[in-house]
């Protein structure tokens, strides 16, 4: 008799992901679906798609979903969650979406303590539009709009979202994780699950910042891109728990 030891989570559809080889989105999609399955929320979840590579999220999850305007998912999620306080509501946003055009919406949703969860993918680049500089692009890192590398005197400095939002009183839980290694993927799953649990308990806003890779727009192989996350991204964006009201943090 055969035993199933590994399967696709119930929350994912059968659609093939359109993401590039080595991209972190697929990993994080799967982790969200696993967590939602384990929390018994598969038929009780609404996920809000950003503008960016993850705009096609409605193709990949069985949850109710909505394509949001660029950066506005936290405002739209406010409307959804206030209407359905019993649903698990997730915004999934990249760095251009959340930390540039949508900065006002994420800051205020967090400050209001809106009871939804944001999964924030930080890969330091605009992916879908082809590699332009993001607010999270590292100093010296090349982008199609910073072709000699980000010069902080010209282009300004990157923004650390987990630190910035953790200064507010509204968030219940904020952690920065990464998907560059199996150990970090396991920690990422634990963080996502905790964020969703805090939402279920109605404790406030929760956000998991996932430091991820973009091999295509970074101009690297998948393996090299993950090494870049470890050697360059994580030192600038330190991993850890930035806010946890249960721990008095």
């Amino acid at each position: 008799m055969s035993t199933t030891i590994f399967k696709k989570p119930n929350g994912l559809t059968d659609r093939k992901l359109h993401y590039c080889p080595g991209c972190g989105h697929g990993i994080v999609h799967r982790l969200i679906a696993e967590c939602i399955d384990e929390l018994g929320e598969t038929n009780n979840t609404v996920i809000l798609a950003p503008v960016g590579c993850a705009v096609f999220i409605p193709n990949y999850f069985v949850y109710d979903s909505i394509h949001c305007a660029h950066g506005r998912a936290p405002a739209t999620a406010t409307g959804v969650k206030r209407t359905h306080p019993d649903k698990t509501v997730i915004t999934y946003q990249g760095d251009g979406d959340l930390a540039s055009i949508g900065m006002a919406e994420i800051v205020h949703a967090a400050a209001r303590g809106e009871k939804f969860t944001t999964i924030f993918i930080n890969n330091g680049i605009y992916g879908m539009t082809g590699g332009q500089m993001a607010p999270t692009t590292l100093p010296g890192m090349k982008a199609t709009t910073a072709q000699s590398g980000r010069d902080v005197h010209v282009n300004g400095n990157p923004i650390r979202i987990a630190e910035l939002l953790s200064s507010l009183d509204g968030p219940a839980y904020i952690e920065r994780v990464a998907v560059d290694s199996p150990a970090h993927v396991v920690k990422t799953k634990a963080a996502i699950k905790k964020a969703l649990q805090y939402q279920k308990e109605g404790l406030g806003f929760s956000l998991v910042e996932v430091v991820s890779s973009c091999p295509t727009n970074w101009g690297m192989s998948a393996v090299k891109a993950m090494e870049f996350v470890k050697d360059n991204m994580i030192p600038y964006y330190p991993l850890g728990v930035y806010k946890d009201i249960k721990e008095g943090k």
Binding site: V46, S65, I66, H67, T76, G79, V80
Partner: protein, 352 residues
């Protein structure tokens, strides 16, 4: 019920609650501040949610979420604020999300002035979002009509799954008039929101679409809207009033506050023997066509608190641009009945 004396903006808020509004998001801007102020106090008592949004942009996107989730929802703003909401209105159109946008217009462009204006006719009827689309625009001329329009706007929004705009101006928002809140509104057969709204999918996902990447499919969606929504609205949702038009040889064309000034001017002009009436569009989109087929009318005199934004619609409707004349004030200035009388006499005198 007996009529009550109420300020326009507060009456608008109360009408929304009576219509079953369960979610309001807005941002402070003059001259509509009494709408969010009233609703911040009263909507929670009626089991609804009030959110003071961080921006106009956030407020309309909150409606995009609340409307998608099946709540009757409204936002309210004024001219520069409505300008900021345009992108979100486009998303509500494409995602077929019912919502009501109350617009209490003031002089512009930019911050312009806080005085009443009708300079947002094009903003309301043409819209500023990208793409091909129309939304119904109701134009009340009194507080009673504003209350009725808000209630009907929710019905229209749900029936067609569309944003609906109620275009008022600072005059209607700020003045007080007696109003009957019990006037019935036409109830429509609205499909249960559980059939499409977020939070009801239960594994058979409900998706609110903002993108259709495949161009032929995107075109089909646009064409469906034109056939199933806009053409039906043009057939069924046009509202207008004809005032003293039975024997009229001339017609003012005016909506909202300027139509009331025209009614006063008509009395004076009729006393002088000029047979003039008023065609008053109560919907600015879809724009009335039938009253402009009146062949007895020698001239249509468009009177607006702007520089003639409705003129092209009147010219298209009567199919003779030479018959369309214009008088207006703009930038927050309100024409007096005497000015309108003088302008009409000059226009009519020049025609004879």
């Amino acid at each position: 019920m007996a009529k009550v004396l109420m300020k326009g903006n507060e009456a608008t808020g109360k009408a929304a609650i009576l219509a079953g509004c369960k979610f309001f998001a807005g941002y402070p801007i003059t001259p509509q501040n009494e709408v969010p102020e009233y609703l911040s106090r009263e909507l929670p008592l009626a089991g609804g949610t009030f959110v003071q949004a961080e921006s106009e942009v956030a407020a309309i996107n909150m409606l995009y979420g609340a409307g998608s989730a099946g709540a009757r929802c409204m936002t309210s703003s004024s001219s520069p604020g409505i300008a900021l909401k345009q992108e979100g209105i486009g998303y509500c159109v494409f995602g077929e999300v019912p919502c009501v946008i109350n617009s209490v217009s003031r002089g512009g462009p930019a911050l312009g002035t806080i005085q009443p204006s009708q300079q947002d006719y094009n903003q309301a009827t043409r819209g500023g979002a990208n793409g091909d689309y129309h939304i119904p625009v109701l134009a009340p001329a009194s507080i009673q009509e504003a209350v009725d329009a808000i209630k009907e706007a929710f019905e229209i929004a749900d029936f067609y799954r569309t944003p609906v705009m109620v275009l008022q101006d600072g005059l209607i928002g700020q003045m007080m008039e007696p109003v009957d809140f019990d006037k019935p509104v036409k109830k429509r057969e609205i499909p249960p929101k559980s059939e499409w709204a977020l939070g009801y999918g239960k594994g058979n996902p409900h998706i609110i679409e903002g993108i259709v990447i495949d161009a032929p499919a995107c075109e089909q969606k646009n064409l469906r809207f034109f056939k199933e929504k806009y053409e039906v609205m043009e057939a069924n949702e046009v509202r207008y009033e004809e005032y003293m038009m039975d024997d009229a040889e001339y017609a003012f064309v005016a909506y909202g506050s300027s139509s009331r000034i025209c009614k006063t001017a008509i009395k004076t002009l009729r006393d002088k023997g000029i047979k003039i009436g008023l065609i008053r569009p109560k919907t600015l989109w879809p724009f009335p066509q039938v009253p402009f087929q009146n062949k007895n009318i020698k001239l249509f005199i468009d009177v607006e608190m702007n520089m003639g934004q409705m003129v092209p619609d009147v010219a298209l409707a009567c199919n003779d641009k030479n018959k369309v004349k214009f008088f207006g004030r703009c930038g927050g200035m309100i024409p007096s009945p005497e000015e309108v009388v003088a302008a009409a006499e000059k226009i009519i005198g020049g025609a004879e």
